[in-house]
């Protein structure tokens, strides 16, 4: 069964994009979003992040950071990440504004806070289609290494869901098996589009 997946993190840069890139490579139907108000990228110090609007092209951010401090951003991996991202899609998208993108079957979040925001947002939308949406959270730290692992885990789980005859009937099993195998805790809930 072909499911529509959405990968969601805060800024739609690292974790969600890592998973997006991976799932896309595997031929899954995937989109990605951030739930933050703005897109934030680490800056020279914790107090000076680089802030962009959602919708700003990754390429533009890349140019911007290159101009600011190519050494720093190369070292912390931002440039590579942005380059990867720009190859996946044009610009970061905000979850709360994605109503036009249609209903997703699986929404994968990488942080409980994001999970809650997604749930909250879905709660506030109109239920029209009576279409089930599985919202899953897997906590992943927001760094490149963890994101890479998180992406693989997301892919694994999404593939399991995809393979299931009907995930609705076996979701508890799927998640339990996943948890046992990867020794990671998941959280999930159901919402309706």
């Amino acid at each position: 069964m072909k499911l529509r997946h959405a990968m969601v993190c805060a800024s739609n840069q690292n974790r969600s994009m890592e998973a997006h890139a991976l799932l896309q490579k595997q031929g899954l139907d995937v989109s990605s979003y951030g739930t933050g108000t703005n897109v934030k990228l680490p800056g020279p110090s914790a107090r000076e992040p680089n802030v962009y609007q959602f919708g700003t092209p990754y390429r533009q951010m890349l140019e911007d950071l290159k101009n600011k401090d190519p050494e720093l951003y190369k070292r912390n991996g931002l440039l590579q990440m942005l380059k990867r991202n720009s190859g996946v899609k044009e610009s970061p998208q905000r979850w709360q504004d994605n109503a036009a993108d249609g209903a997703f079957d699986v929404v994968f979040t990488f942080e409980e806070r994001v999970f809650d925001m997604v749930i909250d947002d879905l709660e506030n939308r109109e239920t029209k289609l009576l279409k089930l949406a599985l919202v899953i959270n897997l906590d992943v730290k927001d760094n490149h290494e963890e994101a890479a692992i998180g992406g693989k885990l997301a892919l694994d789980l999404c593939q399991r869901l995809e393979m299931a005859e009907a995930w609705e009937d076996e979701i508890d099993d799927i998640i339990s098996r996943f948890e046992k195998q990867h020794r990671r805790r998941l959280m999930y809930t159901i919402r309706f589009y």
């Binding site: 809650d116 749930i119 909250d120 709660e123 939308r125 109109e126 239920t127 029209k128 289609l129 009576l130 279409k131 089930l132 005859e165 009907a166 995930w167 609705e168 009937d169 979701i171 508890d172 998640i175 339990s176 948890e179 805790r185 998941l186 959280m187 999930y188 809930t189 159901i190 919402r191 309706f192």
Partner: protein, 1293 residues
């Protein structure tokens, strides 16, 4: 054409359906079904659905589950758009619910849920608006109840989890649907509450023929109990986590949207905290999380019902290690509350500043008001820096709403009264004002409330108590009375309205007004908080204390509102009167639906439950826009009256109402009488608004009534041509979607009825309006006409009368100006279709229309003519009552060209004939229309005028075709007419004959060779038609096998009548050898070209029997002709032979050899035998040796005894020398001598030949002597005494 296209769609659909049945592959089937759905549901649902739905339902037996799943999807698609099919489809849906494949069952639940909601909504709306529910809809509803019960059973039993999820969701949505939504959305309003999608059980709370709000509420309550039970032990222990999550989520959603259920739901949820112990499952963490977010969202939701639970919610969250989040939420809530408080105070201060507007300002000083207000001179304003006016103020206030709301909830105060949706409109309803103030009974109450309010917070509580004791009716009146204080300018609203209510302000409540009134205890809308005439409880400014009177007055007329009101003046008046007159209940019921209040009123009359609504309407405004113009006149009286009553009020701070009237120059504004133009503009504008609202009405099921009322409304104001124009524009804008046909007809009937009832003496203005409306409607339709559009015909067919002007239009349609582009051809089609339906449906106009149609059949344009002829011949001619006229016309037009007349003369003739009969009809028509002037003008004056086209004396070919086409077309329908054609053919001019010849192939192939009339005609053709007959015979036999009847008829013709074999030629190929042989001499007797044609047919033969005669047989038959006996000149036979032999490919040398072989055996030899031999040897020199053989056989047959042949023999021998020498030498000496005598030149070579050593011995001696090769033979002399002389003459060698 449209029909054709639709038929095409149907064919396509049928093809797809068949393909679906034939295809084995599941996915392919689904794809095909998708295409099928596209056609059936979107291209032509009205005609295809009834046919296809049953077939589609058969798919439930398909083995592939994706197909059944898609079936469920299709059911949803069809059911949500076409409720009529629900009863057919739901049984299938019920079966799908129990499907073995979970995916199918899931889809079935989803589909059914959506249909359920739609059906419920329609049932509710129809009941509310029309007081009854149609049977079919009731049927649907019953089926959906079955469905509901089936899904409920799925929700509460253990089975497939995925299905259960959806079933639980369905239970949730039904609970929400079956209970009134306190946030109070009304019909037409799309509420933000997703699951109920705008439907609110509150609509039917007042009573409904089918839906019993109480029973449904009880059912909802019971379902809720079942849901709750799921979460209690022991049920919960076996609950899968997945289902638990959904149930918790659903319950939280219900609690949030239905505060009344809060108390039932929360205890159960709270009992689950902190660890959801009763529920067991691997994913318990997720369940716990769900519970947490449910608690949080309930905490945030800030429902009034939630307040008592707040502490317990926080405690529960703490126990779940969410204490900090809970505290944070609480803090946020409190902060918001404080902000709201502060803002409110600020606003009050600002208000106090504003009330510095000089109270004595009146209409004449409007400009002063502006100046005063726009220059804030008040010191208090400067003291307290406030956010800027309006614009930025707006944003600030959005932020404060949550806080403000909570405060009101906690301390319900008077704001609630004032904030009932009823007042929130702000159109400054003057009419409401006057109406209410005409009613003295409430004046004391109002003043009492005002007094209480003036006391601030303390008084507010008393007001609350007072209000609780009031009946809804009186309360409503108080509210209405206060509406005058609402600002007129909507832009004022954002500054005082919570954002959450913004939508409701723009689209305020409509429909049953009791909701608004009865439910004011429900969460209020702080609509006009700022304009409340009570002093702010906190931090009142110094000014306020100083002059509370002014303070109160101020909010009644916010200066922004006034400003907007007065500029520009005319616009304001428009606003006011529009609001007052048109939408009497606008303030109460809002712009969107209330525009229909005029049309709703009569409905409500029939509906006792709506009395209140109606009352509101009547009280507030004129029910019809027509009355608008009169309203202003009443104003002064009312205003005066008000002024008088004011002093009578008890001693107290002057009641807000009085002050507001004194200060805000509203009544003065409305005193301006409207000019006629303004009045007209207003009523037009109002009509436009009514018209634009058609969709909502249609959705509510009241479309029919609306149309009837609209028509009456418009028709009554027919003098105002503008309104007719407006309606017409609306109708034509989207003829089908706007039910243009129905609406137009209603108006027409109305006008017609008015006209029929009107006095005969009066100027026939209704009649003129009728004519004009119909004509312009028809014109509009004409301009929009698309291929196959039947709208025009329908309109004309069903209109009460069709005046001549409209018929003229149709005529123009049918006769596009020459040189018009091809797009006009659609007009022609439409025009002709209209004529057709007029002829069928309107006997009085029948003759006129028929005449028009007939005129088109001789139209110059080929296209028009072809179309008209198709119509006349195929559709009209079969009708008994017009057949004769058509025939007469066609005949006349045929004769006109035949007899060199001008075509129009004939037309004129028939027209005049028609008219005599028609005048009588007209009279009859007049009588039926009650003595009024006839609207159906049936006499076409212009038709009398002969068209003055210059005619050449000669009829041209195209002219002939133009006038004859119809006749030909009729001939195909009525074969008997052919005789006429045959009769006139003989005397026709050349062009006409040509035209006939051109038509013959098509005409007669259509008629066929088995038509009895045609056969009779052939058997007995009129004189002069011979050539035509031949042509016909050729056509009939060309390429096809002529029928037996035809052959026998032709033979009869030949035998009995004409003896002219020419007629036989066409059928020759079908004749057998025995039949051909006797007539063969006759064929030979024909002219050469005819014989050739006959020959070809004979040789060609028919496909079945082969050629009648083989080439050899033909030649033998030719030779068998006896010129005397058969009466054929020998010359003809010879020519015939030559003709044959010229066809070397047919009459080959083999054929010739065979023929000669046979002929030579005949006794006596055929006369032309030798001639043929010579010709044969000429044609084929290679036959020479064969011919020599023939010659020697002739010698043995003593050919010399037949003198004619003998000559031929010698000639042949001469031609074929030297080969013929040995034959010659076989001749007896006497004959040889004869031969040499005839052809002396033969002698020498012959002698040389005979002298050869090999030959000489075989030659009789006498012959040798004759040739001079031997001299003294007496035998020679004896034998050929005559031969001596020549031999003597022959020089010896």
């Amino acid at each position: 054409m449209q029909q054709g296209r639709m038929a095409g769609v149907r064919d396509q659909a049928v093809a797809l359906l068949n393909e679906v049945k034939m295809t084995g592959e599941t996915s392919a089937k689904v794809d095909l079904l998708k295409s099928l759905m596209e056609l059936v549901l979107h291209r032509d649902p009205s005609s295809l659905l009834p046919e296809f739905v049953p077939y589609l339902m058969e798919l439930q037996t398909e083995t592939g589950s994706p197909i059944r799943k898609y079936l469920a999807e299709m059911i949803e698609g069809i059911g949500t758009q076409h409720v009529d099919f629900v009863p057919i489809m739901v049984p299938v849906l019920l079966a799908l619910l129990r499907d073995s494949a979970p995916a199918v069952a899931r889809r079935a639940v989803t589909s059914g849920s959506n249909i359920f909601r739609i059906v419920l909504e329609q049932v509710a709306l129809q009941g509310v608006y029309s007081g009854q529910v149609e049977r079919r809809l009731l049927d649907c509803w019953n089926w959906m109840t079955f469905f509901k019960d089936a899904v409920y059973s799925l929700a509460f039993q253990h089975g497939n989890d995925g299905i259960r999820l959806l079933a639980v969701k369905f239970v949730e949505s039904t609970i929400l649907l079956f209970t009134p939504d306190p946030s109070g959305s009304l019909p037409n309003q799309q509420s933000s509450d997703g699951s109920s999608k705008g439907f609110n059980m509150a609509w039917v709370a007042g009573g409904h023929p089918v839906l019993d709000a109480n029973a449904l509420g009880q059912e909802a309550s019971k379902s809720l109990g079942l849901l709750l039970n799921q979460l209690r032990a022991p049920e919960a222990s076996s609950l899968p986590c997945l289902v638990a999550i959904v149930i918790i989520n659903s319950l939280a959603g219900i609690a949030k949207r239905r505060p009344s259920m809060f108390g039932r739901i929360l205890p159960v949820l709270l009992a689950l905290a902190p660890n959801c112990e009763p529920i067991q499952g691997s994913q318990i963490a997720s369940v716990v999380h769900e519970l947490k977010s449910a608690f949080l969202s309930l905490l945030k939701s800030n429902q009034p019902g939630a307040l008592p639970w707040r502490d317990r919610l926080v405690a529960a969250l703490r126990s779940m290690n969410m204490g900090d989040v809970a505290d944070q939420t609480i803090r946020q809530l409190e902060r918001a509350l404080r902000v709201a408080e502060r803002n409110r105070t600020a606003k009050d201060v600002r208000v106090s500043a504003k009330e510095r507007v000089p109270p004595q300002v009146s209409t004449s000083q409007v400009s002063t008001i502006q100046i005063t207000t726009s220059v804030p001179v008040d010191p208090s304003l400067r003291k307290r820096p406030l956010p800027q006016e309006n614009g930025s103020q707006q944003s600030t206030d959005f932020d404060e709403l949550s806080g403000k709301r909570s405060r009101h909830d906690a301390l319900p105060n008077t704001a609630q009264i004032e904030a009932t949706p009823a007042i929130s409109n702000g159109t400054g309803n003057v009419m409401a004002n006057t109406a209410v103030f005409g009613d003295h009974s409430i004046a004391p109450l109002i003043s009492a409330i005002a007094t209480l309010l003036a006391q601030g917070e303390r008084g507010a509580n008393s007001v609350q108590i007072l209000i609780d004791t009031l009946t809804p009716d009186i309360l409503t009146e108080i509210v209405i009375a206060n509406m005058v204080h609402l600002p007129n300018s909507p832009q004022f609203y954002p500054s005082v309205n919570p954002a959450a209510n913004w939508g409701q302000v723009n689209l305020p409540h409509s429909g049953p007004a009791e909701i608004a009134v009865n439910s004011f205890t429900a969460p209020p809308m702080e609509t006009a908080a700022a304009s409340q005439p009570y002093p702010p409880p906190l931090d009142p400014s110094r000014d306020l204390r100083k002059d509370p009177r002014r303070m109160e007055a101020r909010p009644a007329g916010p200066s922004e509102g006034v400003t907007a009101l007065l500029i520009p003046k005319l616009e304001v008046e428009t606003n006011v009167v529009l609001a007052a007159g048109l939408s009497g209940a606008t303030a109460q019921a809002g712009a969107s639906l209330n525009l229909e209040s005029t049309s709703n009123a009569p409905t409500n009359l029939r509906d006792p439950r709506a009395t209140f609504h109606l009352q509101a309407n009547n009280r507030q405004g004129g029910p019809s826009p027509i009355q608008v113009k009169q309203e202003p006149k009443q104003e002064p009286i009312e205003a005066e009256h008000l002024g008088n009553s004011d002093p009578a009020l008890p001693l107290s701070p002057p009641p807000q109402t009085g002050i507001s009237l004194a200060q805000v120059p509203l009544p003065a504004i409305t005193l301006q009488p409207l000019t006629g133009e303004q009045g007209a503009a207003l009523s037009t504008a109002s009509l436009v608004r009514i018209l634009e609202n058609h969709k909502t009405i249609a959705a509510a099921g009241g479309a029919d009534l609306r149309i009837a009322l609209l028509a009456r409304l418009v028709a009554q104001s027919y003098e105002d041509t503008e309104s007719l124009k407006v309606l017409q524009k609306h109708v034509l804008a989207d003829y089908h979607a706007h039910k243009g046909h129905e609406l137009g007809l209603h108006v027409l009937y109305q006008l017609f009825a008015d006209h029929a009832c009107s006095d005969v003496d009066q100027p026939t203005s209704t009649s003129a309006a009728y004519d004009q409306f119909l004509l312009s409607l028809a014109q509009g339709l004409r301009d929009k006409i698309s291929a196959g559009d039947k709208s025009l015909s329908r309109l004309l067919g069903e209109a009460p009368a069709v005046p001549m002007t409209t018929l003229k239009l149709v005529e123009e349609l049918c006769n596009p100006a020459s040189g018009a582009d091809s797009s006009k051809s659609e007009h022609v089609t439409a025009g002709l279709t209209a004529l057709w339906s007029l002829i069928l449906q309107r006997p009085p106009t029948r003759d006129t229309c028929l005449k028009m149609a007939l005129k088109c059949t001789v139209h110059e344009s080929d296209d028009t003519r072809a179309k008209a002829i198709r119509l006349v011949a195929n559709k009209l001619y079969p009708l008994n009552f017009v057949a004769q006229s058509i025939e007469d016309f066609a005949t006349a037009s045929l004769l006109s060209v035949v007899d060199h007349q001008s075509g129009d003369a004939a037309e004129r003739e028939t027209i005049e004939e028609d008219n005599s009969g028609k005048t009588e009809l007209t009279n009859g028509d007049q009588r039926t229309s009650n003595g009024a002037a006839p609207m159906d003008v049936t006499v076409d004056e212009e038709a009398h005028q002969p068209t003055t086209t210059a005619r050449t004396s000669e009829v041209t070919l195209s002219e002939a075709q133009r006038c004859m086409s119809l006749f030909f077309a009729l001939c195909t329908k009525k074969h008997a007419l052919l005789r006429q054609l045959f009769q006139v053919y003989g005397r026709s001019p050349k062009a006409v004959k040509q035209a006939v010849h051109r038509h013959i192939p098509i005409l007669f192939r259509t008629i066929g060779s088995s038509s009895q009339e045609l056969l009779q005609l052939i058997a007995d053709p009129p004189t002069g038609s011979e050539y035509l007959l031949l042509q016909v015979l050729h056509t009939l036999t060309d390429g096809t096998e002529p029928s037996k009847e035809l052959i026998s008829t032709v033979k009869t013709l030949y035998d009995v009548k004409s003896q002219d074999a020419t007629y036989l030629i066409p059928v020759l190929s079908s004749l057998s050898k025995d039949e051909v042989t006797p007539i063969f001499p006759r064929l030979v007797d024909l002219s050469s070209d005819k014989f050739q044609a006959a020959l070809a047919r004979i040789l060609q033969g028919s496909a079945h029997t082969g050629p009648a005669l083989t080439p050899a047989e033909v030649l033998i038959a030719l030779h068998g002709i006896d010129p005397h006996k058969d009466a054929v000149p020998l010359k003809k036979v010879m020519d015939a032979c030559s003709t044959c032999l010229q066809q070397r490919t047919v009459f080959t040398q083999q054929v010739l050899a065979k023929v000669l072989n046979q002929l030579v055996e005949q006794t006596p030899l055929p006369l032309l035998f030798m001639r043929t031999v010579i010709q044969a040897v000429n044609s084929f020199p290679s036959l020479e040796s064969f011919v020599m053989e023939i010659l020697s056989r002739l010698v043995s047959k003593q050919i010399w005894k037949l003198p004619k042949l003998w000559m031929g023999f010698l000639k042949c021998a001469h031609q074929t020398m030297p080969k013929s020498f040995h034959v010659l030498l076989q001749l007896p000496t006497a004959q040889l001598e004869d031969a040499l005598k005839g052809f002396p030149s033969l002698k020498e070579p012959l002698a040389a030949h005979a002298d050869q050593p090999s030959v000489r011995p075989t030659v009789p001696r006498s012959s040798l002597v004759l040739l001079g090769l031997s001299q003294d033979t007496p035998a020679v002399l004896e034998a050929a005494p005559v031969g001596q002389e020549p031999s003597a003459e022959t020089p010896k060698q």
